[in-house]
Amino acid sequence: MLLSYLPIVLFVLLAAGFALATLFLSSVLGPRRPSKDKLSPYECGIDPVGSARERFSVKFYLVAMLFIVFDIEIVFLYPWAVVLNSLKLFGLVEMIFFLGILLVGLLYVWKKGGLEWTS
């Protein structure tokens, strides 16, 4: 079984090697004429005010946390889907419970306005 993963490893190495080689080549081939304006961050021709790395909207954390929860849910769905044919109705009922409980969570976030992005 491990042998079937060997091509993947080789493929990854090839792709990563290609990427690194490209990086290297362009840094060797390209000219280097740095200047102050060239090295400063682009902000439409005006010197930027403050740093780009500042505290950001809390919405992004919420998205990431919800994503984790639902990603875990999806991961549970695959083994279930693979064997559903043999689990029959039993499996269906199980999953209805599982998804039902999570749907409650989704509805909760929905009603609380967690899925609104403008406010």
């Binding site: 902000e43 439409c44 500042e54 505290r55 909207s57």
Partner: protein
């Protein structure tokens, strides 16, 4: 989770969707615009100052460069103001040609607006389609004036030259094909759900606010205020044409879009009517003190030569006084305030440009909305920075 701070970011002057060198300083909370401060003047060329040292006739090419998408509208407003100051009437043929060409200009300007507005919202194909049609309008400019953009075709007292041969055919073919093309653009946008989502209810401005902020043109009409100078205070004989002023009701980006599309259709009908009634006759007032005599005459008649020389070296003098003339340019009320001290140069010229005034409403429309809306709203106000900064 602590309180998120706002981030100050410059949008423009080097930005693809500020329609020129407009600089907006945005205060963002996430993606929501908390405050928007426009900074203008990056294209300030001091046109009003330059005009004070030019003879009346020489100011015309300067006006082209203000709203460079509608050069003939600028020409028209200026020459009308000078003619008002002089107290002269131009011959009917010149008037009809002026109307026809300013309406084509309106279509051309709205086409650029449509293309850029659409590409701002991501509908890139419309941009190229709109420019294809605008190209035909530039061809028409080229036919009459020799220049594709800065045509300076309207002159004080009439026109630069009579229409060339084949002109009517070109215009006729344009007005027959254009409505179908317009319908095609509408197919891509008007009922497109994404387009509607991006524009409906965005950048809403109430009619009383719009008046308070001095909005004019399609921006004002989209709020439901049916003010069109062509209707309310007709100039150049607009009262003789049948057309409708556009009218919206919600004052949002979508209504402004509909208004301009509607105006393009109306302009086509006006151009058609102008083609129908185009009379024969002179294209300028027959006053050698104001308009140059025909070139062959200059070569034969001493008097004509003197007039020609005087006009080119001294220009003409206008009576002392002041006038204000405004027209309905594609962007709204385009006014020219002219003060004369009786000499051959304007003592003071002021251009009341619609973009300058309309841009002022931007912060009121965008604050509290998303950056993406900002882009849609800028596009919908349809500003030209050459006109904002002058």
């Amino acid at each position: 989770m602590t309180e998120a701070r706002t981030m100050t970011i410059n949008m423009g002057p080097q930005h693809p969707s500020t329609h020129g060198v407009l600089r907006l300083v945005l205060e963002l909370d996430g993606e929501i615009v908390v405050r928007c401060t426009p900074h203008i003047g990056y294209l300030h060329t001091g046109m009003e100052k330059i005009a004070e040292s030019k003879r009346y006739q020489q100011v015309i090419p300067i006006t082209d460069r203000m709203d460079y998408l509608a050069p003939l509208s600028n020409n028209l407003a200026y020459v009308l103001a000078v003619e008002k100051l002089l107290g002269i009437e131009i011959p009917p043929r010149a008037r009809v040609i002026r109307v026809m060409l300013t309406e084509l200009t309106r279509i051309g300007s709205h086409l650029v607006w449509l293309g850029t507005h659409a590409i701002d919202i991501g509908a890139m194909s419309v941009f190229l389609y709109a420019f294809r049609e605008r190209e035909q309008i530039l061809d028409i400019y080229e036919q009459v004036a020799g220049a594709r953009m800065m045509s300076s075709y309207f002159r004080v007292g009439g026109l630069f030259a009579d229409l060339p041969e084949g002109f009517e055919k070109t215009v006729r073919s344009f007005v027959t094909t254009f409505p179908d093309r317009l319908a095609e653009y509408e197919d891509l946008l008007t009922r497109n759900p994404i387009w509607i989502q991006r524009t409906k209810g965005v950048g809403v401005i109430k009619p009383e606010d719009a008046i308070d902020l001095g909005l004019s043109g399609p921006n004002l009409r989209a709020c439901g205020v049916p003010w069109d100078i062509r209707k309310s205070n007709p100039y150049s004989g607009y009262e003789q044409y049948t057309f409708e002023a556009s009218k919206g009701s919600h004052g949002d980006v979508y209504d402004r879009y509909l208004c301009r599309i509607f105006e393009m259709r109306q302009s086509v009908t006006i151009v058609r009517q102008a083609l129908e009634r185009l009379p024969d006759g002179p294209i300028a007032v027959q006053d050698p003190k104001l308009t140059p005599p025909p070139k062959p005459m200059v070569k034969q008649s001493m008097e004509a030569l003197i007039h020609h020389f005087l006009l080119w070296s001294e220009g003409f003098r206008a009576p002392a006084g002041e006038v204000y003339q405004s027209i309905e340019s594609p962007r709204g009320e385009y006014g020219v305030y002219l003060v004369s001290d009786g000499s051959n140069k304007p003592y003071r010229v002021h251009f009341r440009t619609p973009s300058f005034v309309n841009l002022q409403s931007l912060p009121r429309m965008v604050e509290g909305r998303l950056v993406a809306d900002l882009v849609a709203i800028i596009g919908s106000i349809d500003i030209v920075l050459g006109e904002v900064d002058r």
